[in-house]
Amino acid sequence: MVTQVVNMSRNGVSDWLIQRVSALVLAAYTLCIFGYVVLNPGLDFETWSGFFNNTGMQVFTMLAVLSTGAHAWIGMWTIGSDYLREHTLGSGATTLRFIYQVGCVLIIAAYLIWGINILWGNN
Protein backbone atom coordinates (compact mmCIF):
# COMPACT_ATOMS: atom_id res chain seq x y z
CA MET A 1 0.00 0.00 0.00
CA VAL A 2 1.29 3.41 -0.95
CA THR A 3 1.28 5.89 1.87
CA GLN A 4 2.28 9.51 1.82
CA VAL A 5 2.95 11.91 4.64
CA VAL A 6 0.54 14.43 3.11
CA ASN A 7 -2.15 11.78 2.66
CA MET A 8 -4.00 12.83 5.79
CA SER A 9 -6.87 10.42 5.50
CA ARG A 10 -6.90 6.96 7.03
CA ASN A 11 -8.79 4.93 4.51
CA GLY A 12 -11.56 5.39 2.01
CA VAL A 13 -13.93 2.81 3.47
CA SER A 14 -13.98 4.33 6.96
CA ASP A 15 -14.17 7.83 5.45
CA TRP A 16 -17.17 6.72 3.41
CA LEU A 17 -18.94 5.37 6.49
CA ILE A 18 -18.10 8.34 8.73
CA GLN A 19 -19.35 10.71 6.01
CA ARG A 20 -22.73 8.93 5.97
CA VAL A 21 -23.17 8.54 9.73
CA SER A 22 -22.22 12.19 10.41
CA ALA A 23 -24.59 13.24 7.58
CA LEU A 24 -27.48 11.47 9.32
CA VAL A 25 -26.65 13.12 12.68
CA LEU A 26 -26.47 16.55 11.01
CA ALA A 27 -29.71 15.96 9.07
CA ALA A 28 -31.52 14.98 12.29
CA TYR A 29 -30.08 17.97 14.17
CA THR A 30 -31.03 20.37 11.34
CA LEU A 31 -34.63 19.09 11.36
CA CYS A 32 -34.73 19.34 15.17
CA ILE A 33 -33.55 22.98 15.27
CA PHE A 34 -35.70 24.08 12.31
CA GLY A 35 -38.74 22.28 13.66
CA TYR A 36 -38.27 24.02 17.00
CA VAL A 37 -37.73 27.49 15.52
CA VAL A 38 -40.66 27.18 13.09
CA LEU A 39 -43.01 25.87 15.81
CA ASN A 40 -42.00 28.64 18.22
CA PRO A 41 -42.32 31.97 16.41
CA GLY A 42 -41.19 35.08 18.29
CA LEU A 43 -38.74 33.13 20.48
CA ASP A 44 -37.39 34.92 23.55
CA PHE A 45 -34.13 34.32 25.44
CA GLU A 46 -35.76 32.41 28.33
CA THR A 47 -37.44 29.84 26.07
CA TRP A 48 -34.44 29.46 23.74
CA SER A 49 -31.82 29.06 26.47
CA GLY A 50 -34.22 26.73 28.33
CA PHE A 51 -34.36 24.54 25.22
CA PHE A 52 -30.56 24.14 25.32
CA ASN A 53 -30.31 23.92 29.10
CA ASN A 54 -30.75 20.17 29.43
CA THR A 55 -28.36 17.26 29.03
CA GLY A 56 -30.21 15.74 26.06
CA MET A 57 -30.00 18.87 23.92
CA GLN A 58 -26.40 19.57 25.01
CA VAL A 59 -25.31 16.05 24.05
CA PHE A 60 -27.20 16.27 20.72
CA THR A 61 -25.58 19.66 19.98
CA MET A 62 -22.14 18.29 20.86
CA LEU A 63 -22.72 15.29 18.59
CA ALA A 64 -23.70 17.71 15.82
CA VAL A 65 -20.51 19.76 16.39
CA LEU A 66 -18.35 16.61 16.30
CA SER A 67 -20.19 15.37 13.20
CA THR A 68 -19.60 18.74 11.56
CA GLY A 69 -15.87 18.38 12.21
CA ALA A 70 -15.67 14.84 10.79
CA HIS A 71 -17.99 15.57 7.85
CA ALA A 72 -16.19 18.81 6.95
CA TRP A 73 -12.77 17.16 7.15
CA ILE A 74 -13.69 14.35 4.73
CA GLY A 75 -15.45 16.77 2.37
CA MET A 76 -12.68 19.37 2.38
CA TRP A 77 -10.00 16.68 2.07
CA THR A 78 -11.79 15.23 -0.96
CA ILE A 79 -12.08 18.63 -2.63
CA GLY A 80 -8.41 19.44 -1.97
CA SER A 81 -7.29 16.06 -3.32
CA ASP A 82 -9.39 16.56 -6.46
CA TYR A 83 -8.36 20.08 -7.40
CA LEU A 84 -4.99 20.87 -5.79
CA ARG A 85 -3.00 18.48 -7.94
CA GLU A 86 0.32 18.40 -9.73
CA HIS A 87 -1.11 17.95 -13.22
CA THR A 88 -3.12 21.17 -12.95
CA LEU A 89 -1.04 23.29 -10.59
CA GLY A 90 2.49 22.06 -11.21
CA SER A 91 5.17 21.02 -8.76
CA GLY A 92 4.01 23.30 -5.96
CA ALA A 93 0.70 21.45 -5.66
CA THR A 94 1.78 19.10 -2.88
CA THR A 95 3.00 21.97 -0.71
CA LEU A 96 -0.14 23.97 -1.42
CA ARG A 97 -2.37 20.98 -0.63
CA PHE A 98 -0.50 20.41 2.62
CA ILE A 99 -1.00 24.04 3.67
CA TYR A 100 -4.67 23.80 2.68
CA GLN A 101 -5.14 20.61 4.72
CA VAL A 102 -3.42 22.05 7.79
CA GLY A 103 -5.62 25.15 7.44
CA CYS A 104 -8.74 22.96 7.34
CA VAL A 105 -7.62 20.99 10.41
CA LEU A 106 -6.95 24.19 12.38
CA ILE A 107 -10.35 25.68 11.45
CA ILE A 108 -12.12 22.43 12.42
CA ALA A 109 -10.21 22.30 15.73
CA ALA A 110 -11.21 25.91 16.43
CA TYR A 111 -14.86 25.07 15.67
CA LEU A 112 -14.78 22.09 18.06
CA ILE A 113 -13.24 24.13 20.89
CA TRP A 114 -15.69 26.99 20.28
CA GLY A 115 -18.63 24.56 20.32
CA ILE A 116 -17.52 23.01 23.62
CA ASN A 117 -17.01 26.48 25.09
CA ILE A 118 -20.53 27.59 24.05
CA LEU A 119 -22.12 24.53 25.61
CA TRP A 120 -20.08 24.12 28.76
CA GLY A 121 -18.12 27.35 29.16
CA ASN A 122 -18.82 29.81 31.95
CA ASN A 123 -21.08 32.16 30.07
Binding site: A27, F45, T68, A72, G75, Y111, W114, G115
Partner: protein
Amino acid sequence: MKQNSRPINVGIGDLLSFKWPITAISSITHRVAGVLLFIGVAFMLYALDLSLSSEQEFIALKEMMVSPLGKMITWGLLSALGYHFVAGIKHLLMDMGVGETLEGAQFAAKTTLFFSAVLIALAAIWVI
Protein backbone atom coordinates in the same frame (compact mmCIF):
# COMPACT_ATOMS: atom_id res chain seq x y z
CA MET B 1 -7.10 4.82 -42.40
CA LYS B 2 -9.88 5.48 -39.98
CA GLN B 3 -11.21 9.01 -39.85
CA ASN B 4 -10.68 10.54 -36.46
CA SER B 5 -12.83 13.55 -35.68
CA ARG B 6 -11.44 14.08 -32.19
CA PRO B 7 -9.94 17.55 -31.81
CA ILE B 8 -6.18 17.53 -31.34
CA ASN B 9 -6.09 20.71 -29.32
CA VAL B 10 -8.68 21.95 -26.88
CA GLY B 11 -9.13 25.68 -27.39
CA ILE B 12 -10.97 28.29 -25.37
CA GLY B 13 -13.89 28.02 -27.83
CA ASP B 14 -14.30 24.33 -27.00
CA LEU B 15 -14.33 25.13 -23.31
CA LEU B 16 -16.95 27.86 -23.79
CA SER B 17 -19.22 25.63 -25.85
CA PHE B 18 -18.92 22.75 -23.37
CA LYS B 19 -22.32 21.92 -21.91
CA TRP B 20 -22.30 20.66 -18.35
CA PRO B 21 -24.47 17.57 -17.91
CA ILE B 22 -27.19 18.15 -15.30
CA THR B 23 -25.61 15.52 -13.04
CA ALA B 24 -22.33 17.50 -13.07
CA ILE B 25 -24.15 20.74 -12.21
CA SER B 26 -25.90 19.00 -9.33
CA SER B 27 -22.62 17.50 -8.11
CA ILE B 28 -20.49 20.65 -8.24
CA THR B 29 -23.25 22.65 -6.53
CA HIS B 30 -23.20 20.10 -3.70
CA ARG B 31 -19.46 20.77 -3.29
CA VAL B 32 -19.81 24.56 -3.50
CA ALA B 33 -22.63 24.48 -0.93
CA GLY B 34 -20.44 22.28 1.30
CA VAL B 35 -17.53 24.76 1.19
CA LEU B 36 -19.94 27.65 1.91
CA LEU B 37 -21.29 25.74 4.91
CA PHE B 38 -17.75 25.03 6.14
CA ILE B 39 -17.19 28.81 6.28
CA GLY B 40 -20.78 29.33 7.44
CA VAL B 41 -20.23 27.22 10.58
CA ALA B 42 -18.31 30.23 11.97
CA PHE B 43 -21.44 32.38 11.60
CA MET B 44 -23.65 29.65 13.07
CA LEU B 45 -21.40 29.19 16.12
CA TYR B 46 -21.20 32.96 16.56
CA ALA B 47 -25.01 33.16 16.50
CA LEU B 48 -25.39 30.23 18.91
CA ASP B 49 -22.79 31.77 21.24
CA LEU B 50 -24.59 35.14 21.34
CA SER B 51 -28.06 33.58 21.61
CA LEU B 52 -27.14 31.57 24.70
CA SER B 53 -24.90 34.15 26.43
CA SER B 54 -27.41 36.64 27.85
CA GLU B 55 -30.73 38.34 27.13
CA GLN B 56 -28.94 41.49 25.86
CA GLU B 57 -26.80 39.49 23.44
CA PHE B 58 -29.84 37.47 22.32
CA ILE B 59 -31.63 40.73 21.45
CA ALA B 60 -28.47 42.11 19.78
CA LEU B 61 -28.31 38.96 17.61
CA LYS B 62 -31.98 39.31 16.65
CA GLU B 63 -31.29 42.91 15.57
CA MET B 64 -28.26 41.80 13.53
CA MET B 65 -30.33 39.12 11.81
CA VAL B 66 -33.02 41.56 10.66
CA SER B 67 -30.49 43.98 9.14
CA PRO B 68 -30.11 43.69 5.33
CA LEU B 69 -26.65 42.10 5.65
CA GLY B 70 -27.89 39.75 8.37
CA LYS B 71 -30.81 38.68 6.20
CA MET B 72 -28.49 38.06 3.25
CA ILE B 73 -26.15 35.90 5.35
CA THR B 74 -29.06 33.99 6.92
CA TRP B 75 -30.68 33.36 3.56
CA GLY B 76 -27.36 32.40 1.97
CA LEU B 77 -26.59 29.88 4.70
CA LEU B 78 -30.13 28.47 4.65
CA SER B 79 -29.89 28.09 0.86
CA ALA B 80 -26.54 26.29 1.05
CA LEU B 81 -27.89 24.09 3.84
CA GLY B 82 -31.12 23.37 1.92
CA TYR B 83 -29.22 22.35 -1.21
CA HIS B 84 -26.60 20.29 0.64
CA PHE B 85 -29.37 18.55 2.62
CA VAL B 86 -31.42 17.57 -0.46
CA ALA B 87 -28.35 16.54 -2.49
CA GLY B 88 -27.12 14.55 0.53
CA ILE B 89 -30.38 12.60 0.69
CA LYS B 90 -29.98 11.89 -3.05
CA HIS B 91 -26.50 10.49 -2.28
CA LEU B 92 -27.82 8.27 0.51
CA LEU B 93 -30.59 6.94 -1.78
CA MET B 94 -28.02 6.23 -4.51
CA ASP B 95 -25.88 4.41 -1.92
CA MET B 96 -28.88 2.12 -1.43
CA GLY B 97 -28.95 1.45 -5.17
CA VAL B 98 -31.77 3.84 -6.10
CA GLY B 99 -31.38 5.59 -9.48
CA GLU B 100 -27.97 4.23 -10.47
CA THR B 101 -28.72 4.23 -14.22
CA LEU B 102 -27.92 7.25 -16.44
CA GLU B 103 -31.62 8.15 -16.70
CA GLY B 104 -32.09 7.58 -12.97
CA ALA B 105 -29.15 9.85 -12.13
CA GLN B 106 -30.44 12.59 -14.45
CA PHE B 107 -33.90 12.35 -12.89
CA ALA B 108 -32.35 12.44 -9.39
CA ALA B 109 -30.28 15.53 -10.30
CA LYS B 110 -33.37 17.33 -11.66
CA THR B 111 -35.40 16.36 -8.59
CA THR B 112 -32.59 17.63 -6.32
CA LEU B 113 -32.49 20.97 -8.15
CA PHE B 114 -36.29 21.25 -7.99
CA PHE B 115 -36.69 20.49 -4.28
CA SER B 116 -33.75 22.66 -3.27
CA ALA B 117 -35.14 25.55 -5.35
CA VAL B 118 -38.41 25.20 -3.41
CA LEU B 119 -36.50 25.21 -0.09
CA ILE B 120 -34.41 28.23 -1.14
CA ALA B 121 -37.59 30.12 -2.11
CA LEU B 122 -39.23 29.18 1.20
CA ALA B 123 -36.10 30.33 3.05
CA ALA B 124 -36.28 33.69 1.24
CA ILE B 125 -39.94 34.16 2.23
CA TRP B 126 -39.15 33.14 5.83
CA VAL B 127 -36.15 35.49 6.11
CA ILE B 128 -38.02 38.47 4.64
